[in-house]
């Protein structure tokens, strides 16, 4: 269902044929960023006094950034066809919405 507007998708042009992948150096840069964020994430563990209202959103933001970097660069979604992104994001969004509703019905957010 992510593909209703597929008609827009053009056949591959010659340019797309050899879509350039980033250099190894770029990949390593991304990995360093990922490593640093992971270090920051782990660091929160040692700040035991941090209130949950700050900690949890902070962790979520860092998680999303990591997720985004791996999907966009390592999985090439940045350079590849939008169709792939639509399938993946379609599944991701559907899963998130459905399960968040289900968790809400279990009163997960207020009871944990």
């Amino acid at each position: 269902m992510t593909n209703t507007d597929n008609e827009k998708i053009e056949s591959p042009s010659d340019a797309e044929e050899e879509h350039e992948h980033p250099s190894d150096r770029k990949y390593i840069q991304i990995a360093i960023i990922l490593g640093v964020i992971t270090a920051l994430e782990v660091a929160t563990y040692f700040f035991e006094d941090m209130p949950g209202e700050i900690l949890i959103p902070l962790l979520m933001v860092m998680m999303v950034i990591k997720f985004f970097y791996v999907a966009a660069w390592f999985m090439h979604l940045r350079f590849d066809s939008q169709v792939f992104t639509k399938f993946f994001v379609g599944g991701l969004v559907l899963a998130t919405v459905v399960y968040v509703i289900a968790l809400t019905m279990f009163e997960f957010w207020n009871k944990g």
Binding site: E7, S11, Y27, Y45, L59, W73, S81, F87, G91, F108
Partner: protein, 196 residues
């Protein structure tokens, strides 16, 4: 080119499209397991609670290992695309080894938990925890088997530059498994868990 003017397909590789549809569908699978865990994480009966038993520093290291295996995976692909078979093999093997290291860490974690009194049948929490991380571990293991198959196939001279897409597709699977762990690591381990 004239053919293409009529062409209405996506022009994308069938195999890659199949893998992405599969990964989209896997989101629902892991979503279900993660939700189950979240519902049950405070239901630890008389057994150990997640907050008491998780070893964050240890898991951080193994998470880092898995994260870096994504880097080596993408380097393997990039080497193959350049036609650099030697480095391709090197990175494929490194990726598989890092994956194996992660699995080793998981085995160690599981046995430690077991010793501390958290068995598979101890509580809804323990069942959900082992099932979720176990499913993820099985996914990693399947990935290792695929990587080793690629490695052997490269040793026998069958993995050429033209078949870089096969490596790319295995890579997609591998990165997905990594991305799932990024989620699990934050939501299951780092977000403070209930203690007894």
């Amino acid at each position: 080119m004239t053919e293409n003017e009529h062409s209405v397909g996506t022009g994308l590789s069938n195999n890659k499209l199949l893998m992405w549809v599969f990964l989209g569908s896997e989101c629902l699978l892991f979503g279900g397991l993660i939700s189950t865990y979240l519902i049950y994480r405070s239901r630890f009966a008389d057994g150990p609670a997640p907050g008491d038993i998780f070893d964050i520093p240890f898991t951080s290291v193994s998470s880092f290992v898995l994260l870096m295996s994504s880097l080596t995976m993408v380097l393997a692909l990039s080497a193959l695309q350049r036609g650099d078979y030697r480095n391709n093999r090197l990175w494929l093997l490194t990726t598989a080894l890092l994956g194996a290291l992660f699995i080793g860490g998981q085995v160690y974690e599981f046995t430690t938990f077991l010793r501390e009194g958290l068995g598979y049948t101890t509580s809804p929490f323990s069942s959900a925890f082992f099932t979720l991380t176990g499913f993820h571990g099985v996914h990693v293991s399947i990935g290792i088997v695929m990587l080793m198959s690629l490695y052997v196939s490269s040793m026998r001279g069958n993995l050429r530059r033209e078949s870089a897409e096969t490596v790319e597709i295995v890579g997609l699977y591998w990165h997905f498994v990594d991305v799932v762990w990024i989620f699990i690591f934050t939501v299951i381990y780092l977000v403070p868990s209930p203690t007894s």
